[in-house]
């Protein structure tokens, strides 16, 4: 059984349900998991949802521990508390409700005021649930509402105020608005999902009457898959870079043989239109901060020329890394990851050629290589349905990310022209803002914490709620760093969280985005930490290095800062620094 393929688009729902125990055993053979506690509060039966969700999470390296509410006790569990749930200390609470949980639909005699009142009652129920659950400081995933399968009002159901469909649309609107007010609230869009698979496939009356499942067995893997995409995104497991082949992937035809005039792109033919749609889709990713790269067997000159076609949507400059040569693709892919400075598991590779896909997925298994087939019509679906790039929010920082990489290219070019690296750093005219967490940055701070892997001493992950608590807790020194230079603003790129106890500061978290490596920003951050510590009469700092597959670059960081090694086991180390022994380090960044 090829597990990875089994748990990606297109799903074989029947096989997943039937073979779930066997699949779980296979998945558990892997031993590198991030453990997470997930509470499921259900308004209908959730047993099989839990079982199947577990498979998708295991497949993504998350080992869930579940709490499941008693049947239809989601409201009671949320509002009146529950010792078991308190002890469980969830990282995520999933509220599985749907149209079967609507308390009261409008009646035909109801006035507009009556109906607005019903709407308010319904929405307030959920608001009080979210409010009450906020004490857990964890992410809340809430289903919106699917449509009822039958409509006695027919088409009118959708636009008369007494219609159930109308009522549900209003409720969903209110849910959307609520996500702006409530931090940590994410919607699981079952309204879309049920439309996508079709309402008649989504809801199974027999299963509802027999077992109170509010969706069909076939829909359960789809629901679990969708949920797992949100959970992946919350824990920073989304992909960062889309790597594209060129011939018969970005355009129809072979540029080396057919020439610029011979390739299919634009609106002249159906095939050309389909490739244009694919390029447009890739461009949308680029615009929200996903990095694009090319990996193609081609002469560089020909490959580049393809993007000068009058109808091309993507341009040569849209690609942060452009590998068009005759090297094996798995080598090029590894070079791309190195060049952009991201983990190899952040890459998704799209190629119409099954042989190339095979070579890449067998030589670098951590790269995602969907079996897209060779018909351009299906390429987008494979990227879209697999949710590789699922965002949970759109931050300005994401939208600017590609600019950072472009700025970095300019910096690298300049680096070569200086006598010494210090001269280069001075020429960058860097200034940093290093301050305590403030509310405007909490979203970005949470995001950075959950996705930074390389310069990260402990790789501890925090939920948005935990970050809010830390921001308001005086027993923590919590600093963010922003760095600007003459090429542009790098944004918020560094974080330290130090826990103060007695006269000692324990560095629970220290991380920095790879975007600003080798700029001396870590020295500036640590210097500020020292200042804070001195103000608080702290005499000792304790640092930890927890080894992961990706953070080797900081294994000796504390050594550079004059710390003494005090403990070591299995690659993990503990370090101690007496503040008196610290010698200030030189860096070329003006702070605050």
């Amino acid at each position: 059984m090829e597990i990875e393929k089994l748990l990606s688009y297109p799903l074989d729902n029947n096989l997943i349900i039937r073979k779930k125990k066997q699949i779980k055993k296979e998945l558990l053979k892997d031993n590198k998991f991030m453990k997470k506690s997930i509470a499921i509060l259900g308004g209908s039966t959730t047993s099989e949802i839990k079982n199947i969700l577990e498979l998708f999470l295991l497949d993504n390296g998350i080992k869930p521990n579940f709490y499941e509410s008693e049947y239809n006790k989601y409201y009671e569990d949320a509002l009146f508390g529950n010792d078991e749930l308190d002890k469980f200390n969830p990282d995520i609470i999933y509220i599985h409700t749907s149209n079967v949980n609507i308390i009261e639909y409008p009646e035909l005699k109801d006035s507009l005021d009556d109906i607005n009142q019903l709407l308010k009652t319904e929405i307030n129920k959920y608001k009080s649930i979210w409010q009450s659950l906020s004490k857990y400081h964890c992410a809340i995933i809430q289903n919106n509402f699917d449509y009822p399968i039958n409509r006695s009002l027919g088409n009118l159901d959708c636009y008369d105020i007494h219609g159930k469909t109308y009522f549900i649309n209003q409720l969903n609107q209110e849910f959307n608005k609520s996500t702006n007010d409530i931090k940590n609230l994410y919607l699981n869009d079952i309204n879309y999902l049920s439309s996508y698979i079709g309402l008649k496939n989504w809801f199974d009356k027999s299963l509802w009457y027999q077992a109170k499942y509010a969706l069909s067995m076939d829909a359960i893997p789809e629901l679990a898959f969708n949920l797992s995409k949100i959970i992946n995104s919350i824990f920073g497991k989304t992909k960062k870079c889309l790597v594209l082949d060129l011939d018969n992937t970005c355009w129809g035809g072979v540029i080396g043989d057919d020439g610029l005039d011979g390739i299919h792109i634009g609106t002249e033919t159906a095939i050309a239109e389909a490739y244009t749609a694919f390029q447009n889709y890739a461009k949308e990713f680029k615009q929200r901060g996903i990095t694009l790269a090319v990996c193609s067997k081609n002469d560089f000159k020909n490959a580049k020329e393809g993007f000068s076609h009058p109808d091309t949507v993507l341009k040569f400059d849209d690609f942060t890394s452009f590998k068009a040569n005759w090297n094996p693709k798995h080598q090029n892919i590894q070079d791309i990851a190195k060049e952009i400075n991201i983990g190899i598991d952040s890459l998704v590779f799209i190629d119409d050629n099954p042989v190339e896909r095979d070579i890449v997925s067998s030589s670098v298994p951590s790269v995602s290589v969907p079996d897209i087939g060779d018909d351009v019509i299906h390429f987008i679906d494979h990227i879209d349905r697999n949710g590789y790039f699922e965002p949970i929010s759109l931050l300005a920082d994401d939208i600017n990310r590609n600019k950072y990489y472009e700025d970095n290219k300019k910096r690298t070019q300049e680096e070569a022209t200086f006598q010494s690296y210090d001269d280069f750093l001075i020429s960058l005219e860097m200034t940093a803002e290093i301050k305590s967490f403030s509310s405007v940055y909490l979203d970005r701070i949470t995001q950075l914490i959950n996705k930074t892997n390389q310069f990260n001493l402990t790789t501890k992950r925090y939920t948005a709620g935990q970050i809010v608590s830390i921001a308001n807790d005086d027993s923590y020194i919590k600093m963010y760093g922003k760095l600007t230079d003459k090429y542009g603003d790098n944004g918020l790129i560094a974080i330290i969280i130090g826990r103060v106890q007695n006269s000692c500061c324990y560095i629970d978290l220290w991380l920095m985005s790879c975007r600003v490596l080798k700029r001396g920003m870590e020295f500036a951050m640590f210097d500020e930490l020292i200042k804070h510590c001195r103000k608080r009469n702290i005499v000792e700092i304790v640092g930890y290095y927890y080894k992961t597959a990706k953070n080797n670059m900081v294994s000796d960081l504390y050594d550079k800062f004059d710390f003494e090694l005090t403990e070591e086991s299995a690659g993990n180390t503990v370090w101690k620094l007496n503040l008196d022994k610290y010698k200030a380090k030189e860096f070329f960044i003006g702070v605050n």
């Binding site: 349900i17 039937r18 039966t45 047993s47 099989e48 027999s206 077992a211 067995m217």
Partner: protein, 80 residues
Amino acid sequence: MNEIEIVERLEDIFEDIFDERIVIARNITADDIEDWDSLNHINIIVAIEKEFGIKFTLNELQSQKTVGDTIDLIIKKSNE
């Protein structure tokens, strides 16, 4: 489709669901298998429907007391 073939396919289904090979006899009921609770019952029903390409009516769902009842229904519905 003869009864032997049906029993074999049922045994495959039970193996997937209960994670062990169970020898099926006509007189077996939910009480005879420890893990055969109401949730697994649904999983068995759905798996049978998929396996044999049939769909039980609500009446038929209620009328199945033993595995023998189920086998008879599968034979009857497959021939419809």
